[in-house]
Symmetry: C2
Subunit: 351 residues, 2 copies
Amino acid sequence: MAGDKDDEIEIPAGRPTINDIARMAEVSKKTVSRVLNKSPFVSADTRAKVEEIIGRTGYSPDPQARGLAFRRSFLVGIIFDNPNPQYVVNMQQGILDGLRGSGYELVIHPCDRRSRSYLTDVRHFVERQKLYGVVMPPSISEDEQLARLLEELKCSYIRIASVPLDRPERMIVSHDRRGGEAAARHLIELGHRRIGFISGPSTFRSSHERRAGLEDGLAAAGLSLSPDHIAEGAYTFDSGVACGTALLSRAERPTAVFCANDEMAAGLLQAARRAGLRVPQDLSVVGFDDFQVATQVWPTLTTLHTPTRDIGRLAALKLFALSDEAEEPEIDEESLVMRLVVRESTGPAPT
Amino acid sequence: MAGDKDDEIEIPAGRPTINDIARMAEVSKKTVSRVLNKSPFVSADTRAKVEEIIGRTGYSPDPQARGLAFRRSFLVGIIFDNPNPQYVVNMQQGILDGLRGSGYELVIHPCDRRSRSYLTDVRHFVERQKLYGVVMPPSISEDEQLARLLEELKCSYIRIASVPLDRPERMIVSHDRRGGEAAARHLIELGHRRIGFISGPSTFRSSHERRAGLEDGLAAAGLSLSPDHIAEGAYTFDSGVACGTALLSRAERPTAVFCANDEMAAGLLQAARRAGLRVPQDLSVVGFDDFQVATQVWPTLTTLHTPTRDIGRLAALKLFALSDEAEEPEIDEESLVMRLVVRESTGPAPT
DNA sequence: ACAGTAGTGGAAACCGGTGTCATATGCAAA
DNA sequence: TTTGCATATGACACCGGTTTCCACTACTGT
């Protein structure tokens, strides 16, 4: 028993490791590991002692070493191709909300679905980093090839889309269709009968759903969407200008137009101004998203508020639920409802 | 020598490890490691053989194991508190441009400087992940406490700001002042003499610099900025409306106003409309940033284009240069110049 | 009193890389 | 021929965790 004068508990110099904690608590590192991983086979006394020391030293296990042993990382990825900066930032914030306090971090991976190497890039990204999971917002979420790739790589994922695409535990379905219906009801209540629609790109389901909702609402009032009053845009401001110009030059132009997003609605306002139409006296406009642009144009846009950040948070929580690390979060469906925000761009139909 | 029938080269089942490569190349794992790390002490033959096998198997080393041995990670962080989504997304894209092909990934960490735990949060983030480096755009880049914290944690960082803050190798200085001067020259050439300014929050250096540039330009023409024609905004649309309303109600109102960003310029347009002023006939407006909003308002904004994405790319490259992993990138100063984009919101001064 | 069993803790191997150090080889100089 | 040095390679420990396996308690039931 030489050198047992040194059984004083020393605080190590740098960041403590599991060995330091074990030494200070006078247990084996395995026992510390059991405490860290909440194993039931640790006596209350031992657990308390170890936890006290962990708290006092501020120890937290090294994610790399942990990950190496677990054969996975503590990183969550977001793979996206959505062109709207505000959508992206809100979604990132939401995911981080859900990750907070878990020790997981968020790694971003924007991509271009048209790129030849897109799937290979994603494969390298997920495989190399051994991601814990990924979140995919639209429209990348609708890519079945990508979903199959992640399946093959055994990487958990959550898809956010406006229609159910696969197993519900891996999906968050946004209520775009009901949003479109709310827009329709609002315009119909204001007396509009000739209601037009500017869609997003045909590759976006959200645009289809928003249109389907509009048609639901119209049908309920005995109305329908005339092919003459539909234009296909690209979710961009410029496409909104172009589609708006086209719609407003129709012989029987609509008295109200529902746009599949705010950017295009802003473009439509521009087109209306150029055509000498006053909004909302001559033309009512409804947007979708309730992003900043909705309050920065004139007149301000009546639009549907999308709870992007809430959806992001939910996505992170669902990811944890997938691997039994947490309970399936109670989905507060009400918080995901898209609410109509009435501003200046809608008014009674011209007589 | 029992079992030497098995010296056939087998392709391993899952992802290959360094051991698999070593076995297939009939060298030690250490030699493979040397090839990976470009050690000069490997013969050309051996190197070629190992590289051939690496290429054929698609092997790439595990960043976690590598990081564990190196005592650092292959993650770059971006710490930001900038409220503009488009700035954030452009910056992220730029950093990713610079990281592409390097094997590094980008981890995001938005934060709120007013939060009590902000510095602690950053410390945990950087320390736990053992980040290779971080990029800090304004205004978080101006926080000296944060810089000292990173110094203490021995974490490389690049600060992006409109004035030099510390050692140049850790800074990217944006040319906000010259941008402000260009705005001034433009307005002066159009005949404006009473030129106003809407600033950002006083905590943003960029706003000071943009104003200083404006004053440079005015001084060169023998003009100056009247205190009556200055209002302090908050870089937000609403503050632009408020400041605009204030400035336009002055007895001698300015005939042109330079806004420290586009959002506020959009707000000013709104205020002008409410005040019954036509832009640009009665009032010229110059913004700053050239973000999407600049082309989505009416009239479209004359503004200064900021090369956010290029700056982000440069930041990533500089990070590598800090640790001799790469040459100091040749800073193409010309690509960082902020160019005036003339659109509809500026015109000759009213006579 | 004597096994049988569940609860608890430790030693050693392992995850996939890198660092240190020793050794083997080739070639020029003594 | 021997020495000396630089280059090329490998053995082994190590980074900081987890898992496997085993030993040692302290209870039970008979």
